[in-house]
Symmetry: C2
Subunit: 221 residues, 2 copies
Amino acid sequence: MRISELSAESQVPIPTIKYYLREGLLPQGEQTSATRAVYGEAHVRRLRLIRALIEVGRLPLAAIRKIVAAVEDESLPVHDMLGTAQYALSPGADPDPDAEAWREARKRASALMSELGWRVTEKAPTLDELAQTILSLERLGMPADAEALRPYALAARELVTGEELPRVPFDGPRDAAVEHLVIGTVLYGRAFDALRRLAHESESGRLLGETCRGGLPGEPG
Amino acid sequence: MRISELSAESQVPIPTIKYYLREGLLPQGEQTSATRAVYGEAHVRRLRLIRALIEVGRLPLAAIRKIVAAVEDESLPVHDMLGTAQYALSPGADPDPDAEAWREARKRASALMSELGWRVTEKAPTLDELAQTILSLERLGMPADAEALRPYALAARELVTGEELPRVPFDGPRDAAVEHLVIGTVLYGRAFDALRRLAHESESGRLLGETCRGGLPGEPG
């Protein structure tokens, strides 16, 4: 297909496609004359991936460049390619002023992984995030030990193995697997977060035996 | 205690305390002379709540003012007071250009609540958030029907009833209950999110039978 058809098919405007071509995010089309190139399904897929990284992942161009490089490096195992995308989605952690407390929390994040039998690399930015959250919880007097976090970890693993990983098209094109992982990570995370707050509203109403705001007064709790 | 002691106890600088007093976020102390007032435990608790709303909830002053008003209105049932804080934490949803699709998604979010037997008010901004996420998932070709979302809802409810609500001090001072709810909602949400991404790394490594980056090559998957 020509660039105008690629634009129609992908819903990405032609100037944006040209920009991605110049930036090397989208592979060049097959040149059929000095001024004309044709594009194929692989270009449509790549555009889908780039849009997902921008619109759903809200990732900056530098991160997208890194992910596209991992997608294109066929010698990189799928697991490492997915890891590149997953790590790009992690906000990481700001440095904590109390270095000693930080190291302690980081060690406990790693210890939780061992206890659960999870194999994650020691340099995962997600472990920094977990450590920072542990530190914040403790400073505010909320439980953040293995016992408090285990139920969250087990629920997370159950959703990942039961719902999310079975849907990732591991044996299709590399772009598609990354796109799927990024969309799933961000959007099902957002869905879970909303559902958890809705569960709070519903269950605390039940517990306190009160009607919801907007509910009928006198309705049983 | 005097304002200097309140500052030391709460770790909030005196000028900030004076600002909260002027803004009506912190009740006035008991005046003991024309230039001197004394403060008590209720002031310490209120300062903890305000700091939690700012630092953990990242809420703007207007939202904090609303929450403090709900805390101070003793005629407002606890459930409604907590709802005010919970709704303030919800980012809500941007208006969607496709009004028809949006209404459809919003209906499905409500239908999911009925199906689960959850009692939430129809005007909950969290339902808007859920509807927007449903719409985004569908546009990207990911399942977002009741069957796909139910496992997330059930996991969320289990964590809320098993872990989170039992820790909220419902029968203590109103400030403390709100503080607890806000910290718990935000920070355990953040912990779950990090753990879910760590589970992804660990389980996709297991599934693909690959060693993690930084793992020993040849280690069993």
